[in-house]
Symmetry: C2
Subunit: 333 residues, 2 copies
Protein backbone atom coordinates (compact mmCIF):
# COMPACT_ATOMS: atom_id res chain seq x y z
CA UNK A 1 0.00 0.00 0.00
CA UNK A 2 1.28 3.44 -0.88
CA UNK A 3 1.04 6.41 1.46
CA UNK A 4 -1.32 9.36 1.10
CA UNK A 5 1.63 11.58 0.15
CA UNK A 6 2.74 9.23 -2.62
CA UNK A 7 -0.79 9.02 -4.00
CA UNK A 8 -0.88 12.79 -4.17
CA UNK A 9 2.46 13.02 -5.92
CA UNK A 10 1.06 10.53 -8.43
CA UNK A 11 -1.93 12.76 -9.14
CA UNK A 12 -4.67 10.88 -7.27
CA UNK A 13 -7.52 13.42 -6.93
CA UNK A 14 -9.42 11.47 -4.30
CA UNK A 15 -6.32 11.24 -2.10
CA UNK A 16 -5.79 14.98 -2.65
CA UNK A 17 -9.33 15.81 -1.55
CA UNK A 18 -8.92 13.62 1.52
CA UNK A 19 -5.63 15.25 2.52
CA UNK A 20 -7.06 18.74 2.01
CA UNK A 21 -9.77 17.93 4.53
CA UNK A 22 -7.24 16.61 7.02
CA UNK A 23 -5.06 19.65 6.55
CA UNK A 24 -8.05 22.00 6.95
CA UNK A 25 -8.98 20.23 10.17
CA UNK A 26 -5.36 20.35 11.30
CA UNK A 27 -5.20 16.64 12.17
CA UNK A 28 -1.97 14.90 13.19
CA UNK A 29 -2.00 12.86 9.97
CA UNK A 30 -2.51 16.05 8.00
CA UNK A 31 0.46 17.70 9.66
CA UNK A 32 2.68 14.69 9.11
CA UNK A 33 1.72 14.54 5.43
CA UNK A 34 2.38 18.27 5.04
CA UNK A 35 5.85 17.80 6.44
CA UNK A 36 6.48 14.82 4.17
CA UNK A 37 5.32 16.79 1.13
CA UNK A 38 7.40 19.84 2.01
CA UNK A 39 10.40 18.95 -0.22
CA UNK A 40 8.04 19.09 -3.23
CA UNK A 41 6.78 22.61 -2.55
CA UNK A 42 7.98 26.05 -3.63
CA UNK A 43 7.28 25.78 -7.34
CA UNK A 44 3.74 27.12 -7.81
CA UNK A 45 2.84 30.70 -8.66
CA UNK A 46 0.36 31.82 -5.99
CA UNK A 47 -2.09 34.43 -7.22
CA UNK A 48 -4.41 36.18 -4.76
CA UNK A 49 -7.66 37.64 -6.13
CA UNK A 50 -9.64 39.88 -3.82
CA UNK A 51 -12.61 42.17 -4.36
CA UNK A 52 -15.97 43.12 -2.92
CA UNK A 53 -19.11 41.13 -3.72
CA UNK A 54 -20.49 42.26 -7.06
CA UNK A 55 -17.17 42.92 -8.77
CA UNK A 56 -17.42 39.75 -10.83
CA UNK A 57 -14.36 38.28 -9.16
CA UNK A 58 -15.45 34.66 -9.60
CA UNK A 59 -16.05 35.02 -13.35
CA UNK A 60 -12.63 36.57 -13.62
CA UNK A 61 -11.06 33.65 -11.77
CA UNK A 62 -12.87 31.23 -14.10
CA UNK A 63 -11.61 33.05 -17.17
CA UNK A 64 -8.06 33.14 -15.88
CA UNK A 65 -8.27 29.43 -15.09
CA UNK A 66 -9.40 28.70 -18.66
CA UNK A 67 -6.53 30.83 -19.96
CA UNK A 68 -3.91 29.01 -17.89
CA UNK A 69 -5.40 25.67 -18.94
CA UNK A 70 -4.93 26.65 -22.58
CA UNK A 71 -1.26 27.26 -21.73
CA UNK A 72 -1.17 23.68 -20.45
CA UNK A 73 -0.78 24.59 -16.79
CA UNK A 74 -2.51 22.79 -13.95
CA UNK A 75 -4.67 25.15 -11.95
CA UNK A 76 -5.96 25.04 -8.37
CA UNK A 77 -8.56 27.49 -7.06
CA UNK A 78 -8.96 28.10 -3.34
CA UNK A 79 -12.14 30.10 -2.65
CA UNK A 80 -12.35 31.62 0.79
CA UNK A 81 -15.35 33.09 2.55
CA UNK A 82 -14.22 34.58 5.83
CA UNK A 83 -17.59 36.18 6.58
CA UNK A 84 -19.67 34.96 9.47
CA UNK A 85 -21.28 31.53 9.22
CA UNK A 86 -24.83 32.82 8.90
CA UNK A 87 -24.12 35.04 5.90
CA UNK A 88 -21.91 32.46 4.18
CA UNK A 89 -22.67 30.52 1.07
CA UNK A 90 -22.03 33.14 -1.59
CA UNK A 91 -18.65 31.79 -2.56
CA UNK A 92 -19.91 28.22 -2.50
CA UNK A 93 -22.84 29.30 -4.67
CA UNK A 94 -20.45 30.85 -7.16
CA UNK A 95 -18.52 27.63 -7.39
CA UNK A 96 -21.61 25.79 -8.52
CA UNK A 97 -21.76 28.16 -11.48
CA UNK A 98 -18.28 27.16 -12.62
CA UNK A 99 -19.57 24.79 -15.28
CA UNK A 100 -16.78 25.74 -17.70
CA UNK A 101 -14.18 24.10 -15.54
CA UNK A 102 -15.94 20.98 -14.35
CA UNK A 103 -14.77 17.72 -15.80
CA UNK A 104 -11.29 19.09 -16.44
CA UNK A 105 -8.75 16.98 -14.56
CA UNK A 106 -6.20 19.77 -14.73
CA UNK A 107 -8.34 21.97 -12.46
CA UNK A 108 -9.07 21.50 -8.78
CA UNK A 109 -11.47 23.81 -6.93
CA UNK A 110 -11.61 23.97 -3.16
CA UNK A 111 -13.95 26.15 -1.10
CA UNK A 112 -13.02 27.06 2.43
CA UNK A 113 -15.42 28.58 4.91
CA UNK A 114 -14.44 30.43 8.02
CA UNK A 115 -13.92 28.25 11.02
CA UNK A 116 -13.04 29.87 14.28
CA UNK A 117 -10.37 32.53 14.25
CA UNK A 118 -9.23 34.45 11.21
CA UNK A 119 -5.65 33.60 12.11
CA UNK A 120 -6.72 29.97 11.90
CA UNK A 121 -8.18 30.52 8.45
CA UNK A 122 -4.97 32.10 7.16
CA UNK A 123 -2.97 29.15 8.49
CA UNK A 124 -5.37 26.59 7.03
CA UNK A 125 -5.21 28.39 3.68
CA UNK A 126 -1.41 28.36 3.74
CA UNK A 127 -1.46 24.62 4.37
CA UNK A 128 -4.02 23.90 1.67
CA UNK A 129 -1.93 25.90 -0.80
CA UNK A 130 1.14 23.92 0.17
CA UNK A 131 -0.65 20.66 -0.61
CA UNK A 132 -1.63 21.93 -4.08
CA UNK A 133 1.92 23.12 -4.64
CA UNK A 134 3.34 19.69 -3.79
CA UNK A 135 0.67 18.02 -5.93
CA UNK A 136 2.09 19.83 -8.96
CA UNK A 137 -0.45 22.61 -9.54
CA UNK A 138 1.58 25.33 -11.23
CA UNK A 139 -0.99 28.07 -10.76
CA UNK A 140 -2.82 28.42 -7.46
CA UNK A 141 -5.47 31.13 -7.31
CA UNK A 142 -6.67 32.21 -3.88
CA UNK A 143 -9.99 34.03 -4.09
CA UNK A 144 -11.21 36.12 -1.16
CA UNK A 145 -14.16 38.43 -0.53
CA UNK A 146 -12.27 41.65 -0.11
CA UNK A 147 -12.79 43.29 3.25
CA UNK A 148 -10.63 43.35 6.27
CA UNK A 149 -7.61 41.86 7.85
CA UNK A 150 -8.20 38.29 6.73
CA UNK A 151 -7.66 39.29 3.09
CA UNK A 152 -4.47 41.11 3.97
CA UNK A 153 -3.20 38.04 5.83
CA UNK A 154 -4.10 35.78 2.95
CA UNK A 155 -2.59 38.17 0.42
CA UNK A 156 0.72 37.82 2.22
CA UNK A 157 0.67 34.23 1.02
CA UNK A 158 0.36 35.17 -2.64
CA UNK A 159 3.19 36.10 -4.96
CA UNK A 160 0.90 38.29 -7.03
CA UNK A 161 -2.22 39.98 -5.68
CA UNK A 162 -5.07 41.18 -7.91
CA UNK A 163 -7.59 43.61 -6.47
CA UNK A 164 -10.83 43.58 -8.46
CA UNK A 165 -13.07 46.64 -8.72
CA UNK A 166 -16.20 47.33 -10.75
CA UNK A 167 -17.95 50.55 -11.71
CA UNK A 168 -20.96 51.70 -9.75
CA UNK A 169 -20.46 49.92 -6.47
CA UNK A 170 -20.28 53.11 -4.42
CA UNK A 171 -17.27 54.58 -2.77
CA UNK A 172 -18.28 54.58 0.88
CA UNK A 173 -15.75 51.95 1.80
CA UNK A 174 -12.71 54.07 1.11
CA UNK A 175 -10.90 53.01 4.24
CA UNK A 176 -11.14 49.37 3.29
CA UNK A 177 -10.09 50.08 -0.26
CA UNK A 178 -7.08 52.00 0.95
CA UNK A 179 -5.95 49.03 3.01
CA UNK A 180 -6.43 46.75 0.05
CA UNK A 181 -4.64 49.07 -2.37
CA UNK A 182 -1.49 48.57 -0.38
CA UNK A 183 -1.50 44.88 -1.19
CA UNK A 184 -2.40 45.21 -4.89
CA UNK A 185 0.15 44.26 -7.52
CA UNK A 186 -2.43 44.55 -10.26
CA UNK A 187 -5.73 46.44 -10.06
CA UNK A 188 -8.48 45.06 -12.25
CA UNK A 189 -11.43 47.17 -13.38
CA UNK A 190 -13.88 44.44 -14.28
CA UNK A 191 -17.27 45.00 -15.97
CA UNK A 192 -15.43 47.67 -17.93
CA UNK A 193 -18.34 47.99 -20.38
CA UNK A 194 -20.49 49.50 -17.66
CA UNK A 195 -20.98 53.22 -17.22
CA UNK A 196 -18.51 54.69 -14.77
CA UNK A 197 -15.58 52.45 -15.71
CA UNK A 198 -13.65 55.56 -16.68
CA UNK A 199 -14.13 57.24 -13.31
CA UNK A 200 -13.42 54.03 -11.36
CA UNK A 201 -10.12 53.75 -13.19
CA UNK A 202 -9.40 57.42 -12.51
CA UNK A 203 -10.14 57.02 -8.79
CA UNK A 204 -7.82 54.03 -8.60
CA UNK A 205 -5.12 55.95 -10.42
CA UNK A 206 -5.24 58.86 -8.03
CA UNK A 207 -5.21 56.52 -5.04
CA UNK A 208 -2.18 54.77 -6.50
CA UNK A 209 -0.45 58.09 -7.04
CA UNK A 210 -1.18 59.00 -3.43
CA UNK A 211 0.18 55.66 -2.28
CA UNK A 212 3.21 55.65 -4.50
CA UNK A 213 5.50 57.94 -2.44
CA UNK A 214 5.26 55.33 0.30
CA UNK A 215 7.82 52.72 -0.56
CA UNK A 216 6.42 49.25 -0.86
CA UNK A 217 8.57 47.08 1.33
CA UNK A 218 7.66 43.48 1.87
CA UNK A 219 6.78 43.12 5.54
CA UNK A 220 9.06 40.81 7.41
CA UNK A 221 7.03 38.71 9.80
CA UNK A 222 9.64 36.40 11.23
CA UNK A 223 11.21 37.18 14.56
CA UNK A 224 14.67 37.01 13.06
CA UNK A 225 15.89 39.46 10.49
CA UNK A 226 16.99 37.74 7.37
CA UNK A 227 20.64 38.34 6.62
CA UNK A 228 19.92 38.19 2.91
CA UNK A 229 17.62 41.24 2.62
CA UNK A 230 19.08 43.39 -0.13
CA UNK A 231 18.92 47.16 -0.07
CA UNK A 232 15.87 48.41 -1.93
CA UNK A 233 16.89 49.84 -5.28
CA UNK A 234 14.96 51.50 -8.07
CA UNK A 235 14.82 48.34 -10.15
CA UNK A 236 13.21 46.48 -7.27
CA UNK A 237 10.09 48.61 -7.23
CA UNK A 238 6.92 47.38 -8.84
CA UNK A 239 4.33 50.03 -9.54
CA UNK A 240 0.86 48.46 -9.53
CA UNK A 241 -0.83 48.22 -12.90
CA UNK A 242 -4.44 48.86 -13.79
CA UNK A 243 -6.07 46.46 -16.24
CA UNK A 244 -9.61 46.64 -17.63
CA UNK A 245 -11.53 43.42 -18.21
CA UNK A 246 -15.00 42.16 -19.09
CA UNK A 247 -14.81 38.72 -17.58
CA UNK A 248 -18.21 37.58 -18.88
CA UNK A 249 -17.00 37.67 -22.48
CA UNK A 250 -13.29 37.18 -21.86
CA UNK A 251 -12.16 40.68 -22.85
CA UNK A 252 -8.85 41.74 -21.33
CA UNK A 253 -8.08 38.28 -19.95
CA UNK A 254 -5.07 37.67 -22.22
CA UNK A 255 -3.66 41.07 -21.25
CA UNK A 256 -4.28 40.39 -17.57
CA UNK A 257 -2.56 37.01 -17.78
CA UNK A 258 0.35 38.76 -19.49
CA UNK A 259 0.59 41.28 -16.62
CA UNK A 260 0.54 38.42 -14.12
CA UNK A 261 3.39 36.73 -15.96
CA UNK A 262 5.27 40.04 -16.03
CA UNK A 263 4.86 40.42 -12.29
CA UNK A 264 6.18 36.91 -11.72
CA UNK A 265 9.21 37.76 -13.83
CA UNK A 266 9.74 40.95 -11.86
CA UNK A 267 9.67 38.99 -8.60
CA UNK A 268 12.29 36.57 -9.84
CA UNK A 269 14.60 39.16 -11.40
CA UNK A 270 14.42 41.53 -8.41
CA UNK A 271 15.01 38.72 -5.93
CA UNK A 272 11.62 39.35 -4.28
CA UNK A 273 10.49 35.82 -5.04
CA UNK A 274 13.19 34.38 -2.78
CA UNK A 275 12.74 37.09 -0.16
CA UNK A 276 9.02 36.39 0.09
CA UNK A 277 9.57 32.66 0.20
CA UNK A 278 12.09 33.11 2.97
CA UNK A 279 9.88 35.46 4.97
CA UNK A 280 6.95 33.07 4.66
CA UNK A 281 9.00 30.08 5.77
CA UNK A 282 10.56 32.07 8.59
CA UNK A 283 7.24 33.07 10.03
CA UNK A 284 6.08 29.46 9.67
CA UNK A 285 9.18 28.26 11.48
CA UNK A 286 8.65 30.90 14.16
CA UNK A 287 5.09 29.75 14.76
CA UNK A 288 6.18 26.11 14.93
CA UNK A 289 8.98 27.03 17.33
CA UNK A 290 6.65 28.99 19.57
CA UNK A 291 4.18 26.18 19.80
CA UNK A 292 6.98 23.67 20.48
CA UNK A 293 8.37 25.91 23.22
CA UNK A 294 4.89 26.26 24.71
CA UNK A 295 4.39 22.48 24.61
CA UNK A 296 7.64 21.94 26.43
CA UNK A 297 6.65 24.56 28.97
CA UNK A 298 3.34 22.78 29.56
CA UNK A 299 5.15 19.58 30.37
CA UNK A 300 6.82 21.38 33.26
CA UNK A 301 3.92 23.48 34.55
CA UNK A 302 0.57 21.83 35.20
CA UNK A 303 -2.74 23.45 34.39
CA UNK A 304 -3.42 23.51 38.10
CA UNK A 305 -0.25 25.46 38.85
CA UNK A 306 -0.98 27.83 35.99
CA UNK A 307 -4.51 28.47 37.27
CA UNK A 308 -3.21 29.21 40.78
CA UNK A 309 -0.86 31.85 39.41
CA UNK A 310 -3.68 33.19 37.24
CA UNK A 311 -5.90 33.57 40.32
CA UNK A 312 -3.27 35.73 41.96
CA UNK A 313 -3.01 37.89 38.85
CA UNK A 314 -6.79 38.26 38.79
CA UNK A 315 -6.71 39.40 42.42
CA UNK A 316 -3.96 41.87 41.50
CA UNK A 317 -1.61 40.34 44.07
CA UNK A 318 0.79 39.39 41.27
CA UNK A 319 1.60 41.47 38.20
CA UNK A 320 1.74 39.71 34.81
CA UNK A 321 5.52 40.19 34.74
CA UNK A 322 5.93 38.66 38.19
CA UNK A 323 3.67 35.80 37.16
CA UNK A 324 5.75 35.10 34.06
CA UNK A 325 8.93 35.13 36.11
CA UNK A 326 7.43 32.68 38.60
CA UNK A 327 6.21 30.36 35.87
CA UNK A 328 9.50 30.52 33.97
CA UNK A 329 11.75 29.93 36.93
CA UNK A 330 9.72 27.09 38.35
CA UNK A 331 9.41 28.85 41.70
CA UNK A 332 5.89 27.48 42.17
CA UNK A 333 4.40 25.96 45.25
CA UNK B 1 11.43 63.02 43.08
CA UNK B 2 8.39 60.86 42.64
CA UNK B 3 8.09 58.22 39.94
CA UNK B 4 5.99 58.48 36.81
CA UNK B 5 3.57 55.92 38.22
CA UNK B 6 3.05 57.88 41.42
CA UNK B 7 2.45 61.10 39.47
CA UNK B 8 -0.22 59.31 37.50
CA UNK B 9 -1.92 57.91 40.57
CA UNK B 10 -1.96 61.48 41.89
CA UNK B 11 -3.75 62.73 38.78
CA UNK B 12 -0.90 64.49 36.97
CA UNK B 13 -2.17 64.93 33.40
CA UNK B 14 1.22 65.75 31.94
CA UNK B 15 2.74 62.61 33.43
CA UNK B 16 -0.23 60.66 32.09
CA UNK B 17 0.26 61.99 28.57
CA UNK B 18 3.95 61.16 28.76
CA UNK B 19 3.34 57.61 29.92
CA UNK B 20 0.70 57.06 27.22
CA UNK B 21 3.30 57.91 24.60
CA UNK B 22 5.82 55.54 26.15
CA UNK B 23 3.25 52.78 26.34
CA UNK B 24 2.18 53.36 22.74
CA UNK B 25 5.80 53.13 21.63
CA UNK B 26 6.27 50.04 23.79
CA UNK B 27 9.43 51.34 25.49
CA UNK B 28 11.09 49.54 28.39
CA UNK B 29 10.12 52.34 30.78
CA UNK B 30 6.55 52.13 29.54
CA UNK B 31 6.43 48.41 30.16
CA UNK B 32 7.90 48.74 33.64
CA UNK B 33 5.39 51.47 34.53
CA UNK B 34 2.52 49.34 33.21
CA UNK B 35 3.60 46.51 35.45
CA UNK B 36 3.92 48.83 38.45
CA UNK B 37 0.44 50.26 37.80
CA UNK B 38 -1.13 46.83 37.37
CA UNK B 39 -2.43 46.50 40.98
CA UNK B 40 -4.51 49.66 40.40
CA UNK B 41 -6.31 48.31 37.33
CA UNK B 42 -9.53 46.35 36.87
CA UNK B 43 -12.01 48.99 38.01
CA UNK B 44 -12.98 50.92 34.90
CA UNK B 45 -15.96 50.15 32.68
CA UNK B 46 -14.60 49.78 29.16
CA UNK B 47 -17.07 50.76 26.47
CA UNK B 48 -16.29 50.08 22.81
CA UNK B 49 -18.02 52.23 20.20
CA UNK B 50 -17.73 51.15 16.60
CA UNK B 51 -19.45 52.25 13.42
CA UNK B 52 -18.80 53.23 9.82
CA UNK B 53 -17.78 56.77 8.88
CA UNK B 54 -20.89 58.95 8.65
CA UNK B 55 -22.84 57.31 11.45
CA UNK B 56 -22.17 60.23 13.81
CA UNK B 57 -20.19 58.01 16.14
CA UNK B 58 -17.96 60.83 17.41
CA UNK B 59 -20.88 63.09 18.35
CA UNK B 60 -22.40 60.17 20.19
CA UNK B 61 -19.20 59.60 22.12
CA UNK B 62 -19.11 63.32 23.01
CA UNK B 63 -22.69 63.23 24.27
CA UNK B 64 -22.07 60.11 26.32
CA UNK B 65 -18.96 61.71 27.79
CA UNK B 66 -20.98 64.78 28.82
CA UNK B 67 -23.60 62.51 30.38
CA UNK B 68 -21.06 60.54 32.41
CA UNK B 69 -19.44 63.81 33.50
CA UNK B 70 -22.78 64.99 34.86
CA UNK B 71 -22.84 61.75 36.89
CA UNK B 72 -19.49 62.83 38.30
CA UNK B 73 -17.47 60.11 36.59
CA UNK B 74 -14.04 60.63 35.08
CA UNK B 75 -14.02 59.78 31.40
CA UNK B 76 -11.24 58.74 29.02
CA UNK B 77 -11.75 58.51 25.27
CA UNK B 78 -9.41 56.46 23.11
CA UNK B 79 -10.03 57.15 19.42
CA UNK B 80 -8.53 54.64 17.04
CA UNK B 81 -8.02 54.91 13.32
CA UNK B 82 -6.75 51.61 12.00
CA UNK B 83 -6.95 52.67 8.37
CA UNK B 84 -3.86 53.17 6.31
CA UNK B 85 -1.59 56.11 7.13
CA UNK B 86 -2.34 58.06 3.98
CA UNK B 87 -6.10 58.07 4.45
CA UNK B 88 -5.83 58.75 8.17
CA UNK B 89 -6.77 61.90 9.93
CA UNK B 90 -10.56 61.58 10.05
CA UNK B 91 -10.64 60.57 13.67
CA UNK B 92 -8.10 63.20 14.60
CA UNK B 93 -10.17 65.77 12.74
CA UNK B 94 -13.23 64.76 14.72
CA UNK B 95 -11.34 65.23 17.94
CA UNK B 96 -10.72 68.86 17.09
CA UNK B 97 -14.48 69.33 16.98
CA UNK B 98 -14.89 68.17 20.56
CA UNK B 99 -15.10 71.69 21.91
CA UNK B 100 -17.72 70.68 24.51
CA UNK B 101 -15.22 68.61 26.40
CA UNK B 102 -12.10 70.72 26.20
CA UNK B 103 -11.01 72.38 29.40
CA UNK B 104 -12.68 69.72 31.54
CA UNK B 105 -10.07 68.09 33.74
CA UNK B 106 -12.28 65.05 34.24
CA UNK B 107 -11.95 64.12 30.56
CA UNK B 108 -8.89 62.84 28.74
CA UNK B 109 -8.92 62.26 24.99
CA UNK B 110 -6.28 60.22 23.22
CA UNK B 111 -6.08 59.55 19.50
CA UNK B 112 -4.18 56.55 18.24
CA UNK B 113 -3.22 56.00 14.63
CA UNK B 114 -2.31 52.71 13.09
CA UNK B 115 1.34 51.81 13.35
CA UNK B 116 2.51 48.61 11.82
CA UNK B 117 0.51 45.50 12.47
CA UNK B 118 -3.11 45.44 13.56
CA UNK B 119 -2.16 43.00 16.29
CA UNK B 120 0.24 45.70 17.49
CA UNK B 121 -2.54 48.27 17.53
CA UNK B 122 -4.78 46.03 19.61
CA UNK B 123 -1.95 45.48 22.08
CA UNK B 124 -1.11 49.18 22.27
CA UNK B 125 -4.77 50.00 22.83
CA UNK B 126 -5.00 47.44 25.63
CA UNK B 127 -1.99 49.02 27.29
CA UNK B 128 -3.29 52.59 26.91
CA UNK B 129 -6.60 51.52 28.41
CA UNK B 130 -4.78 49.94 31.33
CA UNK B 131 -3.00 53.22 32.06
CA UNK B 132 -6.32 55.12 32.09
CA UNK B 133 -7.82 52.45 34.33
CA UNK B 134 -4.98 52.78 36.84
CA UNK B 135 -5.20 56.58 36.64
CA UNK B 136 -8.75 56.37 37.99
CA UNK B 137 -10.86 56.93 34.87
CA UNK B 138 -14.10 55.12 35.64
CA UNK B 139 -15.42 55.19 32.10
CA UNK B 140 -13.11 54.44 29.19
CA UNK B 141 -14.63 54.74 25.72
CA UNK B 142 -12.76 53.12 22.87
CA UNK B 143 -13.91 54.51 19.54
CA UNK B 144 -13.11 52.65 16.31
CA UNK B 145 -14.00 53.09 12.65
CA UNK B 146 -16.03 49.96 12.17
CA UNK B 147 -14.63 47.66 9.54
CA UNK B 148 -12.69 44.50 9.84
CA UNK B 149 -10.72 42.40 12.21
CA UNK B 150 -9.09 45.24 14.11
CA UNK B 151 -12.46 46.33 15.53
CA UNK B 152 -13.28 42.81 16.57
CA UNK B 153 -9.94 42.54 18.34
CA UNK B 154 -10.44 45.85 20.06
CA UNK B 155 -14.03 44.99 20.96
CA UNK B 156 -12.70 42.00 22.87
CA UNK B 157 -11.14 44.54 25.20
CA UNK B 158 -14.43 46.26 26.00
CA UNK B 159 -16.96 45.16 28.57
CA UNK B 160 -19.78 46.70 26.57
CA UNK B 161 -19.72 47.17 22.82
CA UNK B 162 -21.94 49.66 20.99
CA UNK B 163 -22.35 49.33 17.26
CA UNK B 164 -23.53 52.57 15.68
CA UNK B 165 -25.62 52.65 12.52
CA UNK B 166 -27.36 55.49 10.70
CA UNK B 167 -30.11 55.51 8.08
CA UNK B 168 -29.24 55.88 4.42
CA UNK B 169 -25.68 54.65 4.39
CA UNK B 170 -26.36 51.80 1.99
CA UNK B 171 -26.37 48.13 2.73
CA UNK B 172 -23.63 46.88 0.48
CA UNK B 173 -21.34 45.99 3.33
CA UNK B 174 -23.54 43.26 4.76
CA UNK B 175 -20.68 40.89 5.35
CA UNK B 176 -18.88 43.42 7.51
CA UNK B 177 -22.03 44.28 9.40
CA UNK B 178 -22.68 40.64 10.10
CA UNK B 179 -19.27 40.28 11.68
CA UNK B 180 -19.84 43.38 13.73
CA UNK B 181 -23.31 42.33 14.84
CA UNK B 182 -21.76 39.41 16.61
CA UNK B 183 -19.83 41.72 18.89
CA UNK B 184 -22.68 44.18 19.60
CA UNK B 185 -24.14 44.40 23.09
CA UNK B 186 -26.14 47.47 22.14
CA UNK B 187 -27.04 48.58 18.63
CA UNK B 188 -27.47 52.32 18.22
CA UNK B 189 -29.51 53.80 15.40
CA UNK B 190 -28.14 57.33 15.39
CA UNK B 191 -29.49 60.21 13.29
CA UNK B 192 -32.89 58.69 14.05
CA UNK B 193 -34.69 61.79 12.74
CA UNK B 194 -33.55 60.99 9.22
CA UNK B 195 -35.73 59.19 6.71
CA UNK B 196 -35.11 55.46 6.75
CA UNK B 197 -34.51 55.15 10.50
CA UNK B 198 -37.47 52.80 10.71
CA UNK B 199 -36.11 50.45 8.06
CA UNK B 200 -32.56 50.56 9.46
CA UNK B 201 -33.96 49.47 12.82
CA UNK B 202 -36.00 46.77 11.13
CA UNK B 203 -32.95 45.45 9.24
CA UNK B 204 -30.97 45.32 12.46
CA UNK B 205 -33.80 43.53 14.24
CA UNK B 206 -34.02 40.82 11.59
CA UNK B 207 -30.26 40.39 11.62
CA UNK B 208 -30.37 40.05 15.39
CA UNK B 209 -33.13 37.48 15.13
CA UNK B 210 -31.06 35.58 12.60
CA UNK B 211 -28.06 35.76 14.88
CA UNK B 212 -29.89 34.92 18.06
CA UNK B 213 -30.07 31.11 17.70
CA UNK B 214 -26.29 31.16 17.71
CA UNK B 215 -25.34 31.25 21.33
CA UNK B 216 -23.07 34.11 22.27
CA UNK B 217 -20.16 32.57 24.04
CA UNK B 218 -17.24 34.69 25.06
CA UNK B 219 -14.25 33.50 23.06
CA UNK B 220 -11.50 32.11 25.19
CA UNK B 221 -8.16 33.18 23.78
CA UNK B 222 -5.76 31.88 26.38
CA UNK B 223 -3.94 28.63 25.79
CA UNK B 224 -5.22 27.25 29.06
CA UNK B 225 -8.87 26.58 29.69
CA UNK B 226 -10.10 28.37 32.74
CA UNK B 227 -11.37 25.98 35.38
CA UNK B 228 -13.91 28.54 36.51
CA UNK B 229 -16.01 28.78 33.32
CA UNK B 230 -19.60 28.21 34.41
CA UNK B 231 -22.09 26.41 32.23
CA UNK B 232 -24.07 28.89 30.15
CA UNK B 233 -27.59 29.22 31.57
CA UNK B 234 -30.62 31.19 30.45
CA UNK B 235 -29.95 34.01 32.90
CA UNK B 236 -26.47 34.43 31.47
CA UNK B 237 -27.64 35.39 28.03
CA UNK B 238 -27.73 39.03 26.99
CA UNK B 239 -29.84 39.77 23.96
CA UNK B 240 -28.50 42.87 22.20
CA UNK B 241 -30.68 45.96 22.50
CA UNK B 242 -31.47 48.51 19.85
CA UNK B 243 -31.51 52.17 20.92
CA UNK B 244 -32.40 55.19 18.77
CA UNK B 245 -30.49 58.42 19.29
CA UNK B 246 -30.02 61.84 17.75
CA UNK B 247 -26.59 62.66 19.08
CA UNK B 248 -26.52 66.20 17.70
CA UNK B 249 -29.30 67.32 20.04
CA UNK B 250 -28.78 64.77 22.80
CA UNK B 251 -31.96 62.77 22.20
CA UNK B 252 -31.84 59.19 23.47
CA UNK B 253 -28.54 59.69 25.29
CA UNK B 254 -30.00 59.23 28.78
CA UNK B 255 -31.72 56.05 27.66
CA UNK B 256 -28.51 54.81 26.01
CA UNK B 257 -26.51 55.50 29.16
CA UNK B 258 -29.15 53.60 31.09
CA UNK B 259 -28.79 50.60 28.77
CA UNK B 260 -25.03 50.73 29.19
CA UNK B 261 -25.44 50.67 32.97
CA UNK B 262 -27.88 47.77 32.67
CA UNK B 263 -25.39 45.83 30.58
CA UNK B 264 -22.68 46.42 33.17
CA UNK B 265 -25.02 45.10 35.86
CA UNK B 266 -25.80 42.06 33.73
CA UNK B 267 -22.08 41.33 33.35
CA UNK B 268 -21.54 41.49 37.09
CA UNK B 269 -24.63 39.47 38.08
CA UNK B 270 -24.03 36.78 35.45
CA UNK B 271 -20.37 36.45 36.33
CA UNK B 272 -19.34 37.48 32.81
CA UNK B 273 -17.39 40.45 34.15
CA UNK B 274 -14.98 38.14 35.96
CA UNK B 275 -14.88 35.62 33.13
CA UNK B 276 -13.95 38.33 30.64
CA UNK B 277 -11.36 39.81 32.96
CA UNK B 278 -9.83 36.39 33.42
CA UNK B 279 -9.82 35.57 29.71
CA UNK B 280 -8.21 38.92 28.96
CA UNK B 281 -5.50 38.47 31.58
CA UNK B 282 -4.91 34.89 30.51
CA UNK B 283 -4.28 35.84 26.92
CA UNK B 284 -2.00 38.63 28.13
CA UNK B 285 -0.10 36.18 30.31
CA UNK B 286 0.11 33.74 27.41
CA UNK B 287 1.61 36.39 25.15
CA UNK B 288 4.10 37.42 27.83
CA UNK B 289 5.04 33.78 28.42
CA UNK B 290 5.54 33.15 24.72
CA UNK B 291 7.80 36.11 24.32
CA UNK B 292 9.77 35.14 27.45
CA UNK B 293 10.17 31.59 26.15
CA UNK B 294 11.30 32.96 22.79
CA UNK B 295 13.81 35.26 24.51
CA UNK B 296 15.24 32.36 26.45
CA UNK B 297 15.44 30.33 23.25
CA UNK B 298 17.32 33.14 21.53
CA UNK B 299 19.94 33.10 24.27
CA UNK B 300 20.72 29.50 23.34
CA UNK B 301 20.49 29.73 19.56
CA UNK B 302 22.34 32.47 17.74
CA UNK B 303 20.93 34.32 14.77
CA UNK B 304 23.67 32.78 12.72
CA UNK B 305 22.68 29.25 13.67
CA UNK B 306 19.03 30.07 13.03
CA UNK B 307 19.83 31.45 9.58
CA UNK B 308 21.82 28.34 8.68
CA UNK B 309 18.86 26.13 9.53
CA UNK B 310 16.59 28.52 7.65
CA UNK B 311 18.79 28.21 4.54
CA UNK B 312 18.37 24.45 4.61
CA UNK B 313 14.60 24.82 4.91
CA UNK B 314 14.60 27.24 1.99
CA UNK B 315 16.53 24.67 -0.08
CA UNK B 316 13.96 22.05 0.97
CA UNK B 317 16.70 19.86 2.44
CA UNK B 318 15.09 20.20 5.87
CA UNK B 319 11.36 20.23 6.60
CA UNK B 320 10.01 22.83 9.06
CA UNK B 321 9.33 20.07 11.59
CA UNK B 322 12.88 18.73 11.31
CA UNK B 323 14.20 22.27 11.65
CA UNK B 324 12.21 22.89 14.82
CA UNK B 325 13.44 19.60 16.29
CA UNK B 326 17.04 20.53 15.49
CA UNK B 327 16.68 23.99 16.99
CA UNK B 328 14.90 22.72 20.10
CA UNK B 329 17.30 19.91 20.83
CA UNK B 330 20.42 21.95 20.31
CA UNK B 331 21.72 19.49 17.71
CA UNK B 332 23.29 22.31 15.73
CA UNK B 333 26.71 22.48 14.20
Amino acid sequence: MISLEESILQGDRLALARLLTQVENDTDDGRAALDALFPHTGKAHLIGITGAPGTGKSSLVNQLALHFRREGKRVAIVAIDPSSPFTGGAVLGDRVRMKDLSGDNGVFIRSMASRGSIGGLAQATANVVQVFDAAGYEIIMIETVGAGQSEVDIAKLAHTTLVVEAPGLGDDIQAIKAGILEIADIMVVNKADRPGAESTEKALKSMLELAHPTQRVFAHHGKYMSAALPIETETNIWIPLIQRTIATDGKGINELAHQIAKHREHLIVSGDWTIRARARLESELDAALQSALMDRFRERVSEDQFNKVMDQVLERSLSPLEAVNMLMNGSLK
